[in-house]
């Protein structure tokens, strides 16, 4: 299965309870009551954090209501960066790579850790509670399978940032997100090159992914704590 196939199948898959959470506050609460369905539970912790932040902001008279939206987006990005950083840490530790490839993977992993730190600080600066680090699991088979998975994750990450850009209210948060978005795009192109894929699989214009699509796609990598 190519990562494009996987991406497509993720998009085609029925949304499921987890994806519903990102849309509807009442179903989010309902889901939290049911929490415990496999890998979804850890992710629900993250969404719970987002939800409570939003509520906090709504009830604070001095804070603009849209801040809750930015906090949700920053925490969503933070969770994705946690997943990416954990992935590269595990890949580096696996001993599957040596030399120049190992160095390249380490470098990308360092970038993701910096993104985690920056987004954590941003969530705090916005008056929110940073999303907790999720527990993760990744299928690490052959080096080529790992690189394919890395390419999938990076292309998804780039699409995730692109999908949120227009929804961000604060210019500072937008500037930060843009500066991370292009780095994810660089990672995606580099990994696509490594696995023999086009650097621009969507053509001259990159395609965004919605929060729903992205959360469904990362769900298999998040485990119940």
């Amino acid at each position: 299965m190519t990562d494009q196939d996987q991406h497509d199948s993720n998009q085609d898959r029925p949304a499921g309870a987890l994806a519903e959470l990102t849309r509807d506050e009442s179903s989010r609460r309902r889901f939290l009551g049911l929490a415990g369905a496999g890998g979804a539970a850890a992710l629900s912790t993250f969404i719970a954090a987002c939800g409570s932040d939003s509520k906090k902001q709504e009830t604070t008279a001095t804070a603009p209501a849209q801040r809750g939206g930015d906090i949700d987006i920053v925490n969503y990005a933070l969770t994705l960066e946690y997943v990416e950083a954990a992935f590269y840490t595990k890949v580096v530790a696996s001993g599957l790579f040596k030399g120049a490839q190992l160095d390249a993977i380490k470098r990308i992993g360092e970038n993701e850790k910096e993104h985690v730190a920056a987004l954590t600080a941003t969530a705090k600066k916005l008056g929110g509670t940073p999303a907790p680090k999720p527990k993760t699991k990744f299928p690490l088979g052959s080096p080529s399978a790992v690189l394919k998975l890395a390419a999938t994750v990076e292309n998804l990450g780039a699409a995730a940032y692109l999908g949120q850009a227009a929804a961000i209210q604060s210019k500072e948060v937008l500037a930060a997100a843009l500066s991370i978005h292009s780095v994810e795009g660089r990672h995606a192109a580099a990994l696509n090159t490594l696995v023999g894929k086009s650097i621009t699989p969507d053509g001259a214009f990159a395609k965004p992914a919605s929060m729903k699509q992205v959360l469904a796609a990362v769900q298999p990598f998040i485990v119940n704590s």
Binding site: R107, S179, S182, T193, F205
Partner: protein
């Protein structure tokens, strides 16, 4: 050219943009900022330039259009050089992408009720594969920073989404060219922040020229 500053990317100082529009002026200044402090310096310069001028979306898109004209012209020029197979293929792909960006941005300016800038004339200091790849790297890095700097000044959500879908492609180009040069595709985790005042000071001598 500043006498007291060592140029970080002298390749950029060799690019000439011959045009009289505000956009070509801004692109010239952005390149100058990149020449002195590296591509990361372009982002804060562009942001402050649009923030100070209260640039409209049409102006920002015209700036992006000028930048894409520059890149498209650059890869068209590169196609005349003797390039090895892989480099030639990449140059062609990038030229086609940039040409599509030119078309899309031209349409966007019109949709916003503006007049698309005329294509400026450009001169690039490239003579072989090596000088092409070196300049391509700084141009793509600079393009990424320019878009990222302009992004927060865009008012329309649709225009911002379009700019985002283009800047990610520029970032992918930059990474691919960097790999050809044996350079890390993503050298930093974020664009280097630099005080706008410092960038403006660096750019001033170029603007006089």
């Amino acid at each position: 050219m500043p006498t007291n500053e060592k140029l970080l990317t002298p390749e950029l100082a060799g690019v000439e943009v011959h045009g009289v529009t505000r956009s070509s002026f801004l692109v010239r200044s952005a390149l100058a900022a990149g020449a002195v402090y590296g591509a990361g310096a372009v982002s804060p310069f562009v942001r402050s330039a649009f923030a100070a001028s209260g640039g409209t979306d049409a102006e920002i898109v015209n700036f992006a259009l000028t930048l894409e004209y520059l890149e498209a012209a650059f890869y068209t020029e590169a196609a005349k050089l003797k390039l090895s197979g892989k480099v030639r293929d990449l140059a062609k792909l990038l030229r086609d992408d940039e040409t599509q960006h030119v078309d899309a941005l031209t349409a966007t300016v019109k949709k916003l009720g503006g007049t698309p800038v005329a294509k400026p004339k450009f001169t690039f200091p490239i003579k072989d594969e090596k000088s092409f790849l070196k300049l391509a790297q700084v141009l793509e890095d600079t393009g990424v920073s320019a878009y990222n700097g302009a992004g927060p000044s865009i008012t329309s959500k649709d225009v911002l989404a379009a700019a985002g879908s283009i800047v990610q492609i520029e970032a992918r180009h930059a990474a691919a060219i960097r790999l050809m040069n044996g350079e890390p595709p993503a050298p930093v985790a974020f664009d280097a922040p630099l005080p706008a005042a410092k960038v403006k000071a660096a750019v001033k001598p170029f603007i006089m020229a």
